[in-house]
C-alpha cells in the first residue's frame, strides 16, 4: 500500500485484535506549530466552537463539536508545540490536558477520551517524535497526516499500512485545506483504540525510533519537472533572501503594512456608513414610536446611540484580524519577525517580541499573553510593559472620530494622521523599552530561533472563522460591558432633574408673545439652554467639573474630562460617552453621531473639538494607559501588581506631558 496518494484505508495492521474500543467523547488535538492543526480544527468544527482561556493560564482554548453518525465529538484545539517535554507554557497546557489536571473553560478536569496528533506530511520525521510522546500517554490515538497534497507534489510516498503497524494506532492522511480525508479522520477518531505499541521513553531513543519509522515508511519518487524539490536553491530561498534582507526586507515590510492599513480604510468605509445609518434610523424610529419621556430617551439616546457608536467600528476590526490572519498563513510573518529582530535588538527587544506587539495592535490582552513565548524574563517584561503602547482596536473608534473631525472630507490626510498615531505608539514603545532595558531591566538578550513555514496560498476559510471569533467577542463586549457603562453614564448624565434656568424661562415667555416666524427659533434656543444647564448640573457634569482643573491644561473641558475619565475602563467608551454627553445637550436629529460630537459646544458656546484639542486628545489616547483589563493581565503575566502600577504611571504620565506639550504648542500658535 505504498502510494503517494495513500488513501485513508480502514486500518487492519495497526489495531490489535481484541483491543478495547471506547466511544470517544472528547478528543484533544495536538501537533507541531505550522502543521495546519487550526485549519483542520476549523474544517472539522466550522462555526460550532467557542473560544476561551484554559483556567489559570494565558493559553487560548478552542472547543468545537463535530456531528457524527454515532453522536457528537468534542474537539479541544491545544496550542502548537514541538515537544510535550519542553519547559514552555504551551507544553505545560498540553501536558495538563492530557494528564487530566487541566480542563477547558467550563468543563471538569479529566483526561480526554483520546488524542488526535496532527502531523505535517512534509516534515514527518520531526513530527513523529511528538507522536511518540503522545502514544506514551496510552490514550486512544489517531494520527492525522496533514498536507498530503503538498507531500505528493514533493514526490513523497507514505506507506500508510506500515506506518499504522509501527505506530500501533490509526493513521489517516488528509488535507485540511482541500477537505480531503477529513471525513475518514472523523470516522477513525470515532473508533480509535488505545495504541498497541509503546515508543521508547528517552529522548535519544524516541528520536531514533522516529527516524527508523520515517526511513521504513517513506520514500521519494521522481515526480516530473514540476515537482517541488528540496535541497536545491529554490524559489523559497530567493524569497527568503528578499524578505530577510537588511534593507529590502524592511522595504517589503513597510509596504506590506502600509497596504494592509490602506485596505482596511478603503474597504471599511461603506459598511461603517451603513451601520451608522442603521443605528440612526433605529434611534429615529424609537423616537417616533415611543411616548416621550425618560424611557424613550434612555433606549433611543442611551442604549442605541451608545452601542451604535462602538459597533460602527466593527468593519475595521474585522478587516484587521482577517488580513493579519491571511498574512500569517502565507508564511511571510515569520520572516518579518527576523527583519524585526534586527530592528528591535537596538532597543533591547528580541524578534520574538514582534508577534506579541503585532497582536497588541488588535488588543493588548492577547499580545501580553503571547509574551510567554519570549524566553528571556527581562525581554518578556519589557515587551509586556510596552505592549499597550501599540494602537489596539479599542483606540480605532477614538482615532476615527478625531481624524474625521480634523480632516473632514480629506480621507488621505485622515489616513496619514491615522498612520501617524500608530507610528507614535511604536516610537513611544521603543523609547520606553530602551529606557527600561538600560535601567530596571538591564541584561543580555537571548538570540532568536524560529521555524519558517512554507510559503503558501492563505486559507480564506480559516481567516474568516478566526475573524468571526474576534468579531463575536467584540460584539459581546459591546453588548455587555460597554452597554453597562453606557447605561450608567446615561443615568449619571440624566439625573438629578433640575429646574430650567431663569434665562430659558425668560426666552420661553418671549416666545409665547412673539410672532410665529420667530417663535420656533426662540423655543429652540430655550431648549438648548435648558439641555446644557441640565447636563452641567447632572452627576456626570459635576464629576467632570471636579476633575476639569487637572485636564484643563490639555485643553479639555468638562465634557471631555468626563469622556476621558469614563474611558479609563476601556478606551472605546470615549466615543459612546461623548455621544451620550453630546446628545444630552445638542439636537442631533438628521445628523450622524460623529457629526453630533464634532459640533459639540462648551458651556461658554465655544467649540469643544478645536484643532489643538483634537491633536492633544489623539496624542493622549495613543500614549495613555486607559484599559483596566490590560492592567490586570499585566499584573498577572509580569508577576506582580508593581509592574501594572509602573505601566499605568509611566504611560499616563507620558501621555499627560505629551498631550500638554501638543496643546500648548498648537493652542499658542
Amino acid at each position: 500500500m505504498s502510494t503517494a496518494a495513500s488513501q485513508a484505508a480502514p486500518s487492519e495492521t495497526g489495531v490489535p485484535p481484541g483491543s478495547s474500543v471506547r466511544p470517544p467523547v472528547r478528543f484533544a488535538l495536538i501537533g507541531n506549530p505550522n502543521t495546519g492543526k487550526t485549519t483542520l480544527f476549523n474544517r472539522l468544527c466550522g462555526l460550532r466552537h467557542k473560544t476561551g482561556n484554559f483556567p489559570g493560564t494565558t493559553q487560548e482554548a478552542r472547543i468545537g463539536t463535530v456531528r457524527m453518525r454515532e453522536g457528537t465529538l468534542q474537539l479541544v484545539d491545544l496550542p502548537g508545540i514541538y515537544s510535550l517535554e519542553l519547559e514552555q507554557s504551551e507544553a505545560e497546557v498540553c501536558r495538563g490536558v492530557l494528564a487530566g489536571t487541566l480542563a477547558p473553560p467550563g468543563q471538569k478536569a479529566a483526561a480526554p477520551d483520546g488524542v488526535c496528533v496532527v502531523v505535517d506530511a512534509t516534515n514527518l520525521a520531526r513530527n513523529l517524535v511528538l507522536v511518540g510522546e503522545a502514544l506514551r500517554r496510552r490514550l486512544p490515538t489517531v494520527v492525522a497526516v496533514n498536507m498530503i497534497d503538498l507531500a505528493r507534489r514533493r514526490g513523497l510516498v507514505i506507506d500508510l499500512a506500515g506506518l499504522e503497524s509501527r505506530l500501533g494506532c490509526r493513521v489517516v492522511v488528509c488535507s485540511a485545506r482541500s477537505g480531503e480525508g477529513v471525513e475518514a479522520l472523523t470516522e477513525a477518531i470515532a473508533a480509535a483504540p488505545v495504541p498497541n505499541r509503546t515508543p521508547p521513553g528517552t529522548r535519544d531513543g524516541l528520536e531514533r525510533w522516529a527516524d527508523e519509522i520515517y526511513d521504513q515508511c517513506t520514500s521519494v519518487v521522481e515526480t516530473g519537472p514540476n515537482a517541488v524539490a528540496i535541497g536545491v536553491d529554490s524559489l523559497t530561498d530567493r524569497l527568503d533572501r528578499v524578505f530577510t534582507h537588511p534593507v529590502l526586507g524592511l522595504v517589503v515590510f513597510a509596504a506590506v503594512m502600509t497596504g494592509l492599513f490602506w485596505v482596511i480604510f478603503a474597504l471599511a468605509q461603506v459598511p461603517m456608513e451603513l451601520i451608522d445609518r442603521v443605528f440612526a434610523a433605529a434611534s429615529d424610529w424609537l423616537d417616533g414610536a415611543m411616548p416621550e419621556g425618560v424611557i424613550r430617551d434612555f433606549i433611543s439616546h442611551g442604549v442605541v446611540q451608545g452601542v451604535g457608536a462602538t459597533v460602527i467600528f466593527l468593519p475595521q476590526i474585522c478587516l484587521l484580524f482577517f488580513l493579519i490572519s491571511l498574512l500569517e498563513d502565507t508564511g511571510y510573518l515569520a520572516r518579518a519577525a527576523f527583519v524585526m529582530d534586527r530592528v528591535l535588538r537596538p532597543f533591547g527587544l528580541p524578534g520574538h517580541s514582534f508577534m506579541p506587539l503585532l497582536s497588541s495592535h488588535a488588543c493588548a490582552l492577547p499580545g501580553i499573553m503571547a509574551c510567554r513565548a519570549i524566553p528571556d524574563r527581562r525581554e518578556r517584561l519589557a515587551t509586556i510593559l510596552i505592549a499597550p503602547f501599540m494602537s489596539c482596536s479599542a483606540r480605532i473608534p477614538v482615532y476615527v472620530l478625531l481624524t474625521s473631525i480634523l480632516f473632514a472630507g480629506r480621507p488621505m490626510m485622515a489616513a496619514l494622521a491615522f498612520v501617524g498615531c500608530y507610528a507614535l505608539g511604536i516610537v513611544a514603545a521603543m523609547g520606553t523599552a530602551l529606557i527600561f532595558r538600560r535601567t530596571i531591566l538591564r541584561g543580555k538578550g537571548r538570540p532568536m530561533a524560529l521555524e519558517l513555514p512554507s510559503y503558501k496560498r492563505p486559507a480564506f476559510r480559516t481567516a474568516l472563522l478566526g475573524t468571526w471569533d474576534r468579531a463575536f467577542v467584540f460584539i459581546r463586549n459591546a453588548g455587555t460591558n460597554i452597554l453597562a457603562i453606557v447605561v450608567v453614564l446615561w443615568w449619571l448624565g440624566a439625573y438629578p432633574h433640575v429646574d430650567p434656568p431663569p434665562e430659558a424661562v425668560q426666552i420661553r415667555e418671549q416666545a409665547a408673545a412673539a410672532d410665529p416666524e420667530v417663535r420656533g427659533a426662540l423655543l429652540e434656543e430655550a431648549e438648548r439652554i435648558e439641555a446644557r444647564h441640565a447636563s452641567a448640573n447632572s452627576y456626570l457634569g459635576r464629576f467632570g467639573r471636579a476633575v476639569e482643573p487637572v485636564l484643563r491644561p490639555l485643553g479639555y473641558d468638562r465634557q471631555l474630562s468626563v469622556g476621558v475619565l469614563a474611558s479609563f475602563a476601556a478606551r472605546e467608551v470615549f466615543v459612546s460617552t461623548m455621544a451620550v454627553v453630546v446628545t444630552g445637550s445638542e439636537d442631533t436629529e438628521d445628523e450622524g453621531v460623529v457629526q453630533a460630537i464634532a459640533s459639540a459646544r462648551r458651556d461658554d458656546g465655544a467649540p469643544v473639538f478645536t484643532t489643538a484639542v483634537c491633536w492633544s486628545l489623539l496624542v493622549y489616547y495613543v500614549l495613555a494607559m486607559q484599559c483596566l483589563p490590560t492592567l490586570a493581565v499585566t499584573a498577572r503575566e509580569a508577576g506582580g501588581v508593581k509592574w501594572a502600577l509602573l505601566q499605568l504611571g509611566w504611560m499616563t504620565g507620558l501621555a499627560y506631558v505629551a498631550a500638554l506639550a501638543v496643546y500648548q504648542l498648537l493652542g499658542a500658535s
Binding site: S2, Y82, S83, E85, L86, E87, D120, T122, N123, L124, A125, R126, V129, A151, R154, G155, L156, D159, R203, D204, E207, R208, D211, Y214, D215, Q216, T218, S219, V220, V221, E222, T223, A229, I230, G231, V232, D233, T236, D237, D240, R241, T244, P246, A334, R335, A337, F338, D341, R342, G351, P375, R446, P447, M448, A449, L450, E451, L452, P453, S454
Partner: protein, 127 residues
C-alpha cells in the same frame, strides 16, 4: 524502499548521538554538563557557504535553547543545508537520518539568530 545513504550510515556509526550540551555556568545547581563529543571535522554552521549541506555534530548552547532547537529538529546527525548566511542564518533541516542526497521529500526551515548559529557545530560538509 529508501536508498540507504552510505555517508550517513558511516557518520552515524562514528559519532555518539549525544548532542545537546549545556553551559555549566548557566546551570550552577545542576549536574555537570555531559562531555562534548569532539570530532575533528566539526566546524561552526556559520563557516558554511549558502547551498552547502552538512551534518549536525553538536550544539554548545544553554539548556533552554538547546532543547528547543533539538525539538525543532536541529539535532545530532540531522542533515542540514545552509540557505542563507547572515542575520538570520536560515537552514533547511532534511528529515530522517538518511535524508542526504534525496531530492524532494521532507524538510523544514529554521531561522537562527547569528549568535545561535555560531554555536551549532557541523561536519561532513558537502557542496
Amino acid at each position: 524502499m529508501t536508498n540507504r545513504c552510505h555517508e550517513c550510515s558511516a557518520a552515524a556509526d562514528g559519532v555518539t548521538p549525544v548532542v545537546v550540551t549545556t553551559h555549566a555556568r548557566a546551570l550552577p545547581s545542576q549536574a555537570p554538563a555531559p562531555a562534548v563529543p569532539e570530532t575533528s571535522d566539526a566546524v561552526s554552521l556559520t563557516s558554511l557557504r549558502p547551498g552547502q549541506t552538512a551534518q549536525v555534530r553538536f550544539t554548545n548552547l544553554e539548556a533552554g535553547d538547546a532543547d528547543l532547537l533539538r525539538a525543532m529538529g536541529l539535532r545530532s546527525l540531522a542533515r542540514i543545508r545552509l540557505c542563507r548566511l547572515g542575520e538570520p542564518c536560515i537552514v533547511e533541516v532534511l528529515s530522517g537520518s538518511e535524508s542526504c542526497g534525496r531530492k524532494g521529500g521532507c524538510a523544514c526551515r529554521i531561522g537562527l539568530a547569528r549568535p545561535l548559529a555560531d554555536k551549532v557545530l557541523v561536519g561532513s560538509v558537502e557542496g
